[in-house]
Subunit: 435 residues, 2 copies
């Protein structure tokens, strides 16, 4: 191993504390400009960018962008440079040079490549600071989810993604060859999270992938996505769940604002402060959309344009909009949805819309075994095929409910990304299985 690479490393963001000292930096070559006898090398590490000034022999050396290098030199204050410092390089070693032409440049503010190419060469595109920032923020959102729920006494659970049957009667499932048997990829941890409530954990959450074998290939759908799931026992009504989600999102957003300030600045995004989130029955929302915008909605639901319009309606002066839609009809909600106390044709369920897109589905669930059996049968499904799920309801089950937040959708809406694939490191869709 060469001399520089074995030196202890200082990170770009730490350099302010090292002015006047000689340090070693390690990272990727973001950019090099040759100016006669000088060269300006911008080095990129996980904390940011720093300019290194090369002179004489060092300036003459050919260095390709995206090479992994170690640079040593003296840190000096430089008001005009990135972060107010630069490094007067006295040593430079190439650890790993690219051995293929770069498919596109990533050292400009925008990557000039189509989304397909960006996804085909995902490792390269994620090196672009703007694209990189998306996934740093996504990590903070997931961390905030866990932190807040832990503070509320929730237990993290891990439930199987290989399942014997679907949660909704069998459509949109990916089949697996499981030894001699046929199994499926889980569409949601719905049954298992309810079972864990009934197993006495009462409050549980799971951060895990879910699978939907949906044929359509849209900017808002993935066939594998991250579901932030929670389920909570001993609730009074779905109002408790909307209260919980309000506090949860407030914490997640505050964490992003606190920990990802440079990333937000790079993306030009301000995280919304969450006050109370309005709760509007879907029938009322439909009436508002028709009255205000002359738009009719499908029976009992909003279509994507309706979701955009109701967000526009609640948004004051173009501010970010969050709105709960409540009281969906039973016929468009799953068999486990609790009927509304005042009208058995409606449910104690809700969706949360964020800037025009549904990012959460939730609600109170039926906890009475007999009522659940009847609800299953009323859908034309056979209660017998749900026997392991039904057991928990036959063993004493508290009132409960929960929700699922789509992590990629939440990230995309927060950051104003138009395609959910931009908030997914390695998306899986109708046609994409690689990288």
């Amino acid at each position: 191993m060469s001399a520089l690479i074995s030196q202890v490393r200082v990170l770009a963001a730490q350099l302010g504390a090292y002015v006047g000292e000689v340090v070693t930096l390690k990272g990727w070559v973001h950019n090099v400009r040759h100016m006669g006898n000088l060269a300006f090398l911008v080095l990129r590490d996980r904390t940011g960018l720093v300019q290194c000034v090369l002179e004489g022999e060092l300036a003459g050396r050919p260095i390709e962008n995206e090479s992994v290098v170690a640079v040593s030199g003296k840190v000096v204050a430089a008001l005009k440079a990135l972060g107010g410092v630069e490094v007067q390089a006295t040593g430079l070693e190439v650890i790993s040079a690219p051995s293929m032409p770069l498919p596109f440049e990533i050292n400009k503010k925008e990557v000039k490549a189509g989304l397909e190419s960006v996804l085909d060469h995902r490792v390269l595109s994620m090196r672009n600071p703007q694209i990189h920032a998306v996934f740093t923020i996504q990590s903070a959102l997931a961390g905030g989810f866990r932190e807040y729920l832990s503070s509320q006494n929730f237990t993290q659970i891990f439930t199987p993604k290989i399942v014997a049957t679907g949660t909704e009667g069998g459509s949109n499932l990916f089949p697996i060859e499981y030894f001699e048997q046929r199994a499926y990829l889980a569409q949601s941890p719905q049954f298992y999270k309810q079972m864990m409530v009934g197993a006495g954990f009462e409050r549980v959450f799971e951060i895990a992938p879910v699978y939907r074998a949906e044929e359509h290939n849209t900017s808002r759908h993935l066939n594998e996505y991250l579901s932030l799931d929670l389920e909570m026992g001993f609730i009074q009504s779905e109002e408790d769940l909307m209260d919980l989600e309000t506090g949860l999102l407030r914490h997640m957003f505050a964490k992003v604002a606190a920990e990802c300030a440079p990333e937000l600045a790079l993306l030009g995004v301000t995280v919304p402060e969450i006050a109370a989130i309005p709760r509007i029955p879907v029938a009322e929302a439909q009436a508002i959309i028709e009255r205000k915008y002359g738009k009719l909605s499908p029976k009992g639901d909003l279509d994507p344009e309706g979701e955009r319009l109701i967000c526009q309606y609640v948004s004051e002066g173009g501010k970010p909009a969050l709105v709960f839609m409540t009281r969906y009809p039973r016929e468009i909600r799953p068999m486990y949805a609790m009927p509304a106390p005042e009208n058995p044709n409606l449910t104690a369920s809700f969706d949360l819309l964020f800037n025009g897109l549904e990012i959460t589905t939730g609600g109170q669930r039926i906890h009475n075994a007999q009522m659940l059996v009847e609800s299953i049968a009323s859908r034309g499904l056979d209660p017998e095929s749900f026997s392991t799920y039904l057991e928990v309801f036959r063993l004493g089950m508290p009132p409960h409910g929960g929700m699922a937040i789509g992590l990629e959708r939440l990230t995309a809406r927060l950051l104003g990304l138009s395609n959910i694939r931009e908030a997914t490191a390695f998306p899986r869709d109708r046609t994409r299985l690689t990288p």
Copy 2:
């Protein structure tokens, strides 16, 4: 809704602060004893057990174990009772009564049922306080993993579990019907976590399931298990990784000790304090095992008995044993394992053994594209079929390495559980797909 269930609830563990006050409790009936005019009902909620004393009409009411109930009454100090308090009940409502006979009792210290029955009726068995404690501790271990790595500047990543090819050339994969294509369940996030290091995140972790279509059905294998994965760029050698894991496990164990004291007490487990963990080359361990115990090992590796014996050797006086095995031969490690600097037939890799069982596999990886292509070819594999993986090595890749910790194995070893299924909420094995 009845009167009591809509009351605000006090949890069992909070009652010490309510002596002299009237409260409402909600939970499951753990046990009822009728004693003439009195009945003693032990209520169980997510925080523990509390005794409620029923008199008169209340004492005469038939109540089945595992009913979900709300009990109101006055909290009184009672030195002999659980937690030093009991509740003199004045109200009792059954929210949900079991509608099937309990397959076994869960209110004794040990559940008197075989493992198959325990797993068949998982919701019921997890209500047993001892079994419950296992999963509370598992949640804390996962939380500790995330906390420690976040403190060390790691980014949480989410990579696909549906993949086009295996990481090791195609054996032990579960096939999926992915629309018109054939895909597989990921055996590990190995390639993706390396790619995320090379995408500039440098330090990444993932908590997610992995899948192994292994035919054997043993007490130490699952076909779907939770892998705590991490990968780290700019390391000097695999020693950095063993240092990191030492600090990581120290934090995870300390978190369990701090947050799960009641659960540990219930299980009679003391969490080991981790000092330095010895690092022994596998050849040396083989020699020790032969010299001390007269046992021969398979070529370049330890078998399960050898893993037990080397742990016995490093354990002083039966104390919990943690030991790193290092310098495994190349032929038994994957194609991406970095050769050892002093001997190209060995690798800069390691396993961590904990009380006789391998709980971690890790090591430095090859980061040079040409060397990796040669390593792939030397296994008789076609480098072309790894082209999306190889791209990151052709775009500038730092020295790096990582590891994977099996969460169920770690939990089982920490708690002295003999079968890994005891540390799995809903195990998937050769024959089990439900619940």
